[in-house]
């Protein structure tokens, strides 16, 4: 029974080492454990899917910065792939604050190579940063080209064919806000309640809890919560036969699951050791 006493006194650096290994291995050798999809993710996916052929666009907003990138960037990629494959026009909007635009750029870099026949200006438009936050959301209710003037690359918006069809929320099927902060609420208040444009949300695992009430009241069409939400969306597009690239969230979920299992394992092991050694002392 010496073994259990040793376990109780184990140097915590062994635990650190195993956590590190458990995260790295699935990243290098992905397993792709299946992920069950949940209703909030399916309803968002279905809503986007039904826009195919209607001419209505998806506006994808990257309201996040590097600190929440591991959870939110895979969502951006998965949604972009979905729209690109189904030829649903996309407005990719680099977020309400200036620090966020790099995230949108990164999402494009990761997805575009798989869709070589896309035409910029016709299939998608990239909007950069303009100051104003909620004023920008309000402004787009009137006119997108009036609010932004130019796209991220400096082209005049009214010269782009897509923008001629879609210049305000009337022809935007859904705004999907990916955010680690409170910005989805701002979109609901100014976008949905004022102009009636539907809002979908992708958020971090920690923030997801606070948005459940708004999901229930239908203010959000659907929600992706954390890495798991992103992984579910990846599964849905994979099932639809869309090129998925590297399934970052799904692979991340492998690592995530392993760490959770490892944690539960050491908690149980610790308790067995604790109870056995306690009994022996009595």
């Amino acid at each position: 029974m010496r073994f259990f006493e040793k376990i109780l006194k184990i140097d915590r650096r062994w635990i650190f080492l195993i956590v590190g290994i458990v995260v790295i291995i699935p990243l290098i050798f992905p397993i792709g454990m299946p992920v069950l999809t949940t209703p909030p993710v399916r309803s968002l996916y279905n809503y986007v899917d039904k826009l195919q052929g209607t001419g209505k666009a998806v506006m994808l907003v990257t309201d996040f910065d590097p600190s929440t990138m591991p959870e939110l960037l895979p969502m951006a990629c998965a949604i972009l792939r979905h729209c690109f494959a189904k030829k649903i026009p996309v407005y990719l909007y680099g977020g309400l604050y200036s620090a966020y635009v790099g995230m949108a750029e990164m999402a494009l870099e990761k997805t575009l190579p798989d869709f070589p026949d896309l035409q910029y200006g016709k299939d998608y438009i990239f909007l950069g940063y303009v100051p104003g936050v909620s004023l920008v959301i309000l402004g787009m209710g009137g006119s997108i080209s009036g609010t932004f003037n130019t796209d991220y690359y400096g082209n005049k918006l009214d010269t782009l064919p897509l923008n001629k069809m879609v210049d305000n929320y009337k022809n935007i099927g859904i705004v999907i806000d990916l955010s680690g902060s409170a910005s989805p609420e701002t979109w609901v208040i100014y976008g949905y309640q004022r102009f009636g444009v539907r809002i979908g949300v992708g958020t971090t695992a920690v923030s997801a809890a606070q948005y459940y009430p708004m999901l229930q009241t239908g203010q959000f069409v659907g929600m992706l919560g954390g890495l798991k939400g992103a992984a579910e969306y990846e599964q849905l597009i994979k099932k639809a036969g869309i090129p998925t690239g590297r399934l970052e969230a799904t692979i991340g979920m492998d690592a995530q699951s392993f760490v959770h299992i490892f944690l539960i394992f050491i908690i149980i092991l610790g308790n067995i050791a604790f109870l056995i050694t306690k009994k022996r002392k009595v």
Binding site: V23, L27, G252, Q256
Partner: protein
Amino acid sequence: MNISTDIWVWIAALLTLFIYSFLYKDNPFYKFAEHLFIGIGVGYTTVLLWFNSVIPKLWNPLVHGTSPMRFFLIIPILIGALMFSIFSKKNNWLIRIPIAIYIGAGSGLAIPLDFEGLIFEQVKGTILTKSMFNSFIVGFSSIVLFIGVIATLVYFYFSKEHKGFVGKTARVGIFYIMIAFGASFGYTVMARVSLLIGRMQFLLHNWLGIIK
């Protein structure tokens, strides 16, 4: 393998490893990264202060402003300048004036906002649970919620000894608190692991290029 050739990526990667080396034990690499971080942190807040406060609140109105109101800005400047009294042995009590102004105004602002945010919202949420009595489960859950809030409040009741009925209720309160802490702990693990995955993907993808 497709190792990065960008010097900045290398810097970021090495600094990442320096911080992780702390998990093994303290060492000069960690010490370097730690002090670099502290210095950069002070520098960064200085830059933010400069562009978000000094320029828009002081420089622009005083230098480029035209409104006659701008001369009133001298009042907060003088009050703020009392902070310099800390350098004096005799008059360093003057520093209490800006602190008192700050804390007095802060307290006055906080009182109604605490009522709204911390008390009313929580009280309302406890009374109104969604679609009560629609089903047995929701009704039962609402009772669980109600008992929990009351019992936790009893635990924080300081001026009664925790004996008898009060003691038992407070103990129920502590049970709720422990379940809540366990649940929040388990819930947060996920987000923390995501962060580690993010760093590992940076090392393996952006730096070493082992994974695509």
